[in-house]
Amino acid sequence: MNSKLERQLSELLQAKVIDSETAQRISVYYHTKTDAKPNRLFTIFGVLGALLCGLGIILIIAHNWDDMPRTLKTFFAFLPMVIGQIACAFSLFKKKGATWIESSATFLILSVGATISLVSQIYNIPGNLSSFLLVWVAITAPLMYVLRSSIAVLIHLVLITWYACDLGYFFNSHTPWWYLLSLAWVIPFYIHLQKKQASSNISGILNWLLPLSLVMVLGTFTTGNSLSFIMYLALFGVLYNIGQLPFFKNQKLRRNGYTIIGSLGTVILLTILTFEWFWKEAIKDLFGEMEIVMTILLYIAGIVVLGYLHIKKHIRDFNLFQYAFLIIGILYLTRDIGSTHNLILTNIVVAALGLFAIRIGIHKSSYSILNYGLLIITALIICRFFDTNLDFVVRGMLFISVGAGFFFTNYLLLKKQRATAIRTNSKN
């Protein structure tokens, strides 16, 4: 049991909130709970050790021992992989705990990479980094299911993101189609993990890593025109709505990467879309088939998630963040009418998003969400500061009003919290 709980128990005893018998029972409960928990720290150090050893082997191999005969080098190429395989088999067959499973899986994945590297090096096998990463991913992907290793999922996600970025963003870029399949491979494991160990650290990390990977890679499916913005907006809409599923929404906000990435992405993109140049360019742009297909697919996904939330009655209040991608999507479809009305409506949507965030902040008594809303409005005003012909006095007044808004809304929230505290105390 930690000292914080001990301190709190003695405080409650002194204040006569609980009696000594209850304190004893609470203490016993937490003792049992701590003992039943697997040693997480041991697992973390085990994985870190395996990670460092694996990376160390890769670096030693990268030195290139050109004095060594080819046969000896080939023998050493296979050695780390065979050790990794023995460790994994030992963990599985001897039914070892999480520390063994996670460490041996980490070591095997890295040593497979080391083996292919060394063979490529010995025989000067041509091929760029992305093809090397793809082979590596393909022959290590089943490990996550066979060993039920969460770290294997983590490494898999990092490797496929690296592969897609290397293939899609650099010279002679190609579309990384295999990324989609490799990502789909992870999903059943991810869902299972969320059902069984939703509160584990690894679930929290994956809640961030999965959407981040998608955000990083989506750009490889576009040639970079105005439709790319709408495609990304659709992705952020999908992510935000996934984050609103009760499963994620009931978790702490810091564990809900979907909501945070979806919300930030929507706001940043929409702020860019409040500039006139975007809508002027949008009228002239021509797009490739792939961009159109990806955008349509993302919009369908967004509508499906939104529809699910409605059918299951998970949406109680109207939240503009969930619909922003649809509104802008419709505006984009009608862009030929002219840029002015789109421009005005996008500015209104961004301002409304700011107000919604303020409302959510006050409703949830959260200073961070409240000030996030105010920041959205400030960002919008700063953008308009540069590209409108408004009088200096008017612009000055706008800034003063937002500044006053910061003070006023924070003060309101503070007052609300004090009133709630007083009410709770008087009830007791």
Partner: protein
Amino acid sequence: MTKKLASPVLVLLFLIQLFVPAQMIYEQEDALKSGRAYKFKTQPIDPSDPFRGKYIVLNYDLDSFETEEDWSMYRGNVYVYLRNDTEGYATIKTVSKTPLAITEDYVIAESNYNYGKQVNFDLPFNRFYMNESKAYDAEVSVRQAQRDTTKTCYGLVYIKNGRAVLKNVFIDNIPIQQYVEEYQAAIE
């Protein structure tokens, strides 16, 4: 995955993991043992790969060919058919978009940015991995050698059934590792 299924799948996975590098080795060894040797004139430069270490990129003199057809819009793989000249260096017999029924050895190369009747391509065996202390000096020493004298740098490549294995790089018939060691000894 159920425990009963996990064991055979794990064993199968281990076999695949062993098979992939073993197959890579087999194909390379086969080309080295029974393939025909070609010398490709080249210039090395020195970049680095995070996993496989330092290597030199070989810019081959053979990187284009004049044909009768128009290649302006073509982007993709080409079949480069080879033969040796009187000095033993590789030359091109012909380049084609599809395999041809001729006996000459060929390699498959990537072709981009073509114009008119000239087809441009990058030969695939353009990486030669070197010890990390030698890769940069290899680039410098070869550049100096080429500036000062008429020394030639070439890659020795074994080719069989379209598979090409770069065995070594030579500067005036001296293996590049030995040449760099001599260069490093001279500048110390």
